[in-house]
Amino acid sequence: MMKQSGKWIAVSVTAAGLIASLAGCGTGAGNNTSGSGTAGNASGNATGTSASGAVTLNETGSSLLYPLFNNQWIAAYQSVDPSVKLTAASTGSGTGISQAIAGTVQIGASDAYMSDAQIAQSPNMLNIPLAISAQQIMYNLPGVKGHLKLTGDVLGQIYLGKITYWDDAAIKALNPGVSLPHKPIVPVRRTDGSGDTFLFTQFLSDTNKTWGSSSGPNYGTSISWPAVASEVGAKGNDGVVSQLANTPYSIGYVGISWLDKATQKGLGYAALQNKSGNFVLPTQANIQAAASTMVSQVPASERISLIYSPGANSYPIINFEYAIVNKQQSGATAAALKKFLNWAISPSGGDSSQYMTPVHFLPLPASVAPKSQAQINQIGS
């Protein structure tokens, strides 16, 4: 059912695209001075027509990517290519993946890559990293200043319901000198299909034995959470942030693009223990350090976890922000899509620091960008 209606919408979208007389890019092409080699090819397909009709590219998914896409990229891309209309929606990574497969959107945004089983079913789907993001553990602890030190193992025990009070011996041992209140911990988690849940539970699977065992909760965009009576669910990163702000003594995981908003509301965030045993904050340098240890292992399909990477300064929860795209697209849509994605990953375009810094993202590493480019070039072929 779902798939069929998705196809129909896709057909009508592509039909609308064709009627729009292959508008492509026209005037904006000159602005696209991408540092990377193949970027020009994409726009070459559709130049030369008088641009009266417009191609619409719809994005939906990750609430972590949303502040970047909606607040920065859409406005910026208007001047690059006025003939392309971009729309964005913050619906959660699970939706991003499923809508991109169904064809109701051209770009599904996701913090999580697709599983092998899904790729086997939908071999036309590409997982294209656009930028590097991270996730921080945030808490509402009245009276506690500075950054708590936490390990993945302790977080796992909190979400398993084994550590229930803030002054538990395990938390105290990590934070000598901090006066922790004897209050029940309120763990907050996402209820929607979420890339942040994927990242957080992957971190727990890597660091907590029970969590990662074959009978444990494991990881995914939505998992079977252990029963914890004090736990509450919230929808989207915005939901988690407001839930944390409203609930004293709560803890939760929040995508880094929401860091500024959350700290303004009085939430603190933790220094997490990395694989080398050091406690690190999600600073630009530490995210960069984690990314640099992983770049050499990125495969051509680019579906890889960057969680809990080695290195003395590596921040343990970082990830690629993916655009989930169907490579089978009709001419005008394919051209517009390729051009936009090439712009998005270009260090002088979407990945420039003026867009990355406000959301604390990092641009794609120079050695990964060509792999994303190779995937982008498969679109429409």
């Binding site: 059912m1 939706t95 089983a117 029940p184 209820t191 939505s222 929808k235 709560s250």
Partner: protein
């Protein structure tokens, strides 16, 4: 005999087809939707069996792992679906809502029907209907921002003092998101429906009956209790069934204030819960990423149970009406 022109014959034919199509559409839609839900649910029934109704764990399995085969169907490794917490959450929150809504809507309807007149009646009636028109997401937002903190800091704390008497009121009071807040939000949403229906029913009570009661020296309350309420009883139960059905199916507002519990049965009035409708809305996007599709089938089975439960409550209400109705008439017969 008047000669029937071909034009009017055609018009009659068109009329017949149009009314036929329009009149059959509710039945057709109901049957088609029920069939699709049923067909979608069958793989989940095969996979989970009866365990689906009495088990507690809702587990999509490892969506990034291998697929497993069981009972002739495929699912993600480790998947096992059971919906008891969601069924309990749906019933508990809707029953709390009904219990709160019965007195409020009854008394509001009495005031609207008998006590206020003219412009005031008109304004108050419009306000009640406006309350029914507030989108559920707005009520949910109010629930998160205003109601839940108030429940956490005031109402729940106060109610928990009754803990020694009623075990289900015992603390801890939690975060304010949970069963009590869900029930309150649902009550607000069904009060206008029940009130409007009850008001119309009360206005149908023949004025002679009421005047007769007053003429016999009955007080206002006695007129309501012995004349109006028996008169509207059947319709009132129908209104309650309508409200109950609405409360069980309500999604967005509950989703926002329920605390979205998983794998957990409520242990007191303040526990986080989840309802079937909220789970379907919440989990569908992740379910669609399940390569085995079993997660979607399990949600379809949940939808099927919700439909069946709504039907059952409807039948229950009807049965209550006929049963009490029959008893009364026999009693009256004996008395005469």
């Amino acid at each position: 005999m008047r000669k029937v022109s071909s034009a009017s014959k055609n018009a009659d034919r068109v009329f017949r087809v149009a009314t036929g199509v329009a009149a059959s559409s509710p039945v057709v839609f109901l049957v088609v939707i029920a069939l699709i839900v049923l067909v979608q649910a069958i793989p989940s029934m095969k996979f989970n069996g009866w365990h689906f109704i009495y088990g507690i764990q809702w587990n999509m399995g490892n969506l990034y792992g291998a697929l497993e085969h069981k009972n002739g169907v495929t699912a993600a490794a480790g998947a096992s679906y059971a919906a008891l917490p969601f069924i309990v959450g749906t019933l508990a929150s809707s029953i709390i809502a009904i219990l709160i809504a019965i007195p409020i809507s009854m008394f509001t309807a009495l005031i609207l029907a008998y006590r206020v007149r003219g412009v005031l009646q008109w304004i108050l009636s419009i306000l009640v209907e406006l309350l029914a028109g507030i989108p559920s997401v707005v009520i949910g937002l109010w629930g998160i921002i205003t109601l839940a903190p108030w429940v956490r800091d005031n109402l729940a704390v106060w109610l928990s003092h009754l803990g020694p008497v009623v075990p289900y009121l015992r603390g801890p009071v939690g975060t304010g998101l949970g069963l009590l807040s869900s029930g309150l939000v649902l009550a607000i949403m069904i009060v206008p429906i029940i009130t409007a229906t009850t008001r119309d029913l009360l206005m149908q009570v023949p004025i002679l009956y009421r005047e007769g009661g007053i003429g016999l020296g009955m007080t206002t309350w006695e007129v309501v209790r012995y004349i109006c309420m028996p008169f509207i009883r059947d319709g009132f139960v129908g209104a309650l069934a309508l409200g109950w059905g609405r409360a069980m199916g309500e999604t967005m507002a509950v989703l926002m204030v329920s605390g979205s519990a998983m794998n957990l049965l409520p242990h007191n009035l303040y526990s986080p819960i989840s309802t079937m409708a909220a789970v379907i809305a919440d989990q569908l996007d992740s379910a669609l990423t399940d390569a085995s599709q079993m997660a979607v089938h399990a949600l379809a089975e949940l939808a099927l149970i919700l439909m069946v439960l709504t039907l059952l409550t409807n039948f229950l209400a009807r049965w209550l009406v006929t049963r009490t109705g029959r008893r009364r008439s026999t009693k009256a017969g004996v008395a005469a």
